[in-house]
Structures are given as structure tokens and as C-alpha cells.
């Protein structure tokens, strides 16, 4: 029997196709789990005929685990710490921290008026490179507010890493603030 040796580029090509298929499958699962149709009023003041309920995908371990795995591949090498704005990004940043081994902080919407009064919970040091992790980006108001809070600690933020970019101006606002948005999915890529 003649043994056929595969071309040397084939394993890499198969891995690439595998990754593409896994990403497509995750996109379908995200939509099935969390894409809601209706008449929604967004905090930007706009109305929307759909809404991504992040809690519906973040509360599914089979989805959350795959998201964390794919986000982990996009974490820049020089990141020291992850950050997640409360409440929606907390499960996400926790899963990503477990995946990467990187420590993380939680950014409050409002500093507590009692106790420690911290706007940022957890340990963060001056000069550290912090990666802001966000679930769904619309106009990026929350991600930018949280980034400003992290910056006020003396740390630096370079990138906002998100699961879904709704493509409603968030990327532009993030760029205008001197940051970069890296989203696992743009809305136009999802099978909605």
C-alpha cells in the first residue's frame, strides 16, 4: 500500500478552516441564545427592533467557555490585567481571566458612597496595560466611561475587546478616544 504524505501546508489550512467553522458556529449559537426582536429603547436615546441580551449568552457555560477561548486568542501580548465594567461584562472577564491566567478588575458604574468608595474593584497598578473587556458595544458609552475610570488609576488602556459590535458608532467613538475596538463579531457578520 502506498502511503500518501499530505502537503506540508495542510495541517495549518485544516486548523484555519476549523477555527473559521468554530467561530461561525459560535455566531449562530449567540444569535439563537440572545438575539431578541421587539421595540427597544436604548440608553443612547435611539430605538431598535432588536437587542442582544448579553445575560442570555453569558449565562450559558457552553457559550461562555467558547467565547472566552476565542477572546483569549485576541488578547495582546503585553496586557498585564483585564477589566470588566459591571454588571454584564463581569462573567465575561472572569471567564477570560480563567482562560488566560491574567488578573482582572471590575469597574463600577458609580463609586460606592460608603466603604472603600472604589470605582475600580481589585488590584491595579500605575502604568499597567489594562485590556477593557465588554460584551456588546453599541455607542460604547459604558466602555469609554469604564476606561476613563481605569485611566484615573494611572493604568493605561489600549484596546476594548468585545464580543459583539452592533456597528452603531461605537468603534468610531472608541477610536476618537484614542483606543482600539477589537470585536469577536460585528453585527453584520452574524446570521440574524
Amino acid at each position: 500500500m502506498t502511503r500518501v504524505t499530505p502537503p506540508s501546508h495542510l495541517p495549518a489550512e485544516l486548523a484555519r478552516i476549523g477555527a473559521r467553522d468554530r467561530r461561525a458556529e459560535l455566531g449562530r449559537d449567540l444569535v439563537n441564545a440572545a438575539y431578541l426582536r421587539g421595540d427597544f429603547v436604548l440608553s443612547s436615546g435611539g430605538r431598535s427592533s432588536f437587542y442582544f441580551d448579553k445575560y442570555l449568552f453569558e449565562s450559558q457555560p457552553t457559550i461562555l467557555r467558547r467565547i472566552a477561548g476565542m477572546l483569549a486568542e485576541r488578547v495582546p501580548d503585553d496586557v498585564d490585567r483585564l477589566a470588566g465594567p459591571e454588571l454584564g461584562a463581569v462573567p465575561l472577564v472572569t471567564a477570560l481571566a480563567l482562560e488566560t491566567g491574567l488578573p482582572f478588575i471590575i469597574v463600577r458604574k458609580n463609586a460606592k458612597g460608603y466603604g472603600t468608595s472604589h470605582a475600580v474593584e481589585g488590584e491595579v497598578h500605575q502604568g499597567e496595560h489594562v485590556l477593557m473587556v465588554e460584551d456588546v458595544i453599541s455607542t460604547a458609552g459604558e466602555a469609554l466611561r469604564a476606561s476613563a475610570n481605569v485611566l484615573s488609576t494611572g493604568a493605561r488602556v489600549g484596546t476594548v475587546l468585545a464580543v459583539v459590535d452592533r456597528e452603531q458608532g461605537g468603534a468610531e467613538r472608541i477610536a476618537a478616544a484614542g483606543l482600539r475596538l477589537d470585536a469577536l463579531f460585528r453585527l453584520s457578520e452574524l446570521p440574524v
Partner: protein, 172 residues
């Protein structure tokens, strides 16, 4: 509490009342004034009574339609002021909230309401747009925005009123 001037509608008395509640307005010529502090009626309930009554009077003077609902945004600091204005106007109060990017409200929202949004200052016009959109969905509308200082944004066609006519326009 010390109020230098008993008439809240005089310039200095008005500023003093705002300051008692934590809203210190930048003095003319101030450079980098920073974000506008939040007025809290709970810091000075007597002052909030006077300011709220003046706000209600200003709202009533706007004309028709007379508001039948007071709306406050989620900031707890606006609640005292909102309740004073609502009591003076004889309306209910509904608090709107941002629920992870979606705008909702606590308690029931009456249908076809003509609402006045009560706040110390409009810091983000998107808040007014969001409140108007939720009211619109229930057949209602925002008929006025009532603030302690005039908004730095054009909210047209919604009229903006202040407790003291001519209160400084400030940048949030």
C-alpha cells in the same frame, strides 16, 4: 442651613441654594471648571422645597399641555426635587433607569402621559431622547424639561425651563 438671601430667585440667593445642595456653579471667568457637581435635594431638604416649588411654578407657566407626570432619571439625587415638583403639580413621579443599555422605568407608566423631566441639569441630551422614546411608545410625550440650570444643549422642540429664569447655561 444658612441661606444668605431669603429670596431664591435673586442671583446670589439662588446660587447659595444650589451650593447648599452640592451644586456649586463655576464663577464667571473660571477656566477649567470640570464636571458640574450633582445637586442633591437630600443634602438640603428645605432648599429643595424652595427650588422645587419654583421649578413647578416655572413649569406651570410654560402653558399647555400641563404636565400630568413627573419623570426623573435614575440618579437618586434628583428624587427629592422630583417629588417636590410632582407634589406641587399634583402628579405622580416615575423614575427611569438604564438597564444595561436598555431604558426602562420603575413602577407603571401611565399611557398618554404629558411628562416633565425634572433634573438639576441635563448632562446628556441622550437621556431626554431616551425618556421621550419610552413615553412615545406608551402614547405620551415630554412636554418640558425642568432643571435648576439651563441645559447646555438644544433640546428643541422640547422647552427647557429653570427655577430661576436666566439661570446660567453651563457646560456639563
Amino acid at each position: 442651613m444658612t441661606v444668605p438671601n431669603p429670596d431664591p430667585l435673586t442671583h446670589d440667593g439662588y446660587r447659595a441654594l444650589l451650593a447648599e445642595g452640592g451644586l456649586t456653579l463655576p464663577a464667571p471667568g473660571d477656566g477649567e471648571a470640570g464636571p458640574l457637581p450633582k445637586y442633591s435635594g437630600s443634602r438640603d431638604p428645605a432648599g429643595a422645597e424652595r427650588l422645587g416649588a419654583a421649578l413647578a411654578e416655572a413649569v406651570a407657566a410654560v402653558g399647555t399641555p400641563r404636565p400630568d407626570l413627573v419623570v426623573v432619571w435614575q440618579d437618586p439625587e434628583d428624587l427629592v426635587l422630583g417629588h417636590v415638583v410632582a407634589r406641587e403639580l399634583g402628579t405622580a413621579v416615575v423614575r427611569f433607569v438604564d438597564l444595561d443599555g436598555l431604558v426602562g422605568h420603575e413602577g407603571s407608566l401611565p399611557r398618554n402621559a404629558s411628562a416633565v423631566v425634572v433634573t438639576d441639569a441635563v448632562r446628556d441630551p441622550a437621556v431626554v431622547r431616551a425618556i421621550a422614546a419610552v413615553l412615545d411608545r406608551a402614547g405620551g410625550s415630554v412636554v418640558a424639561v425642568a432643571g435648576l440650570v439651563a441645559p447646555a444643549f438644544d433640546l428643541a422642540p422640547i422647552p427647557a425651563v429653570t427655577a430661576r429664569p436666566g439661570a446660567s447655561v453651563v457646560t456639563a
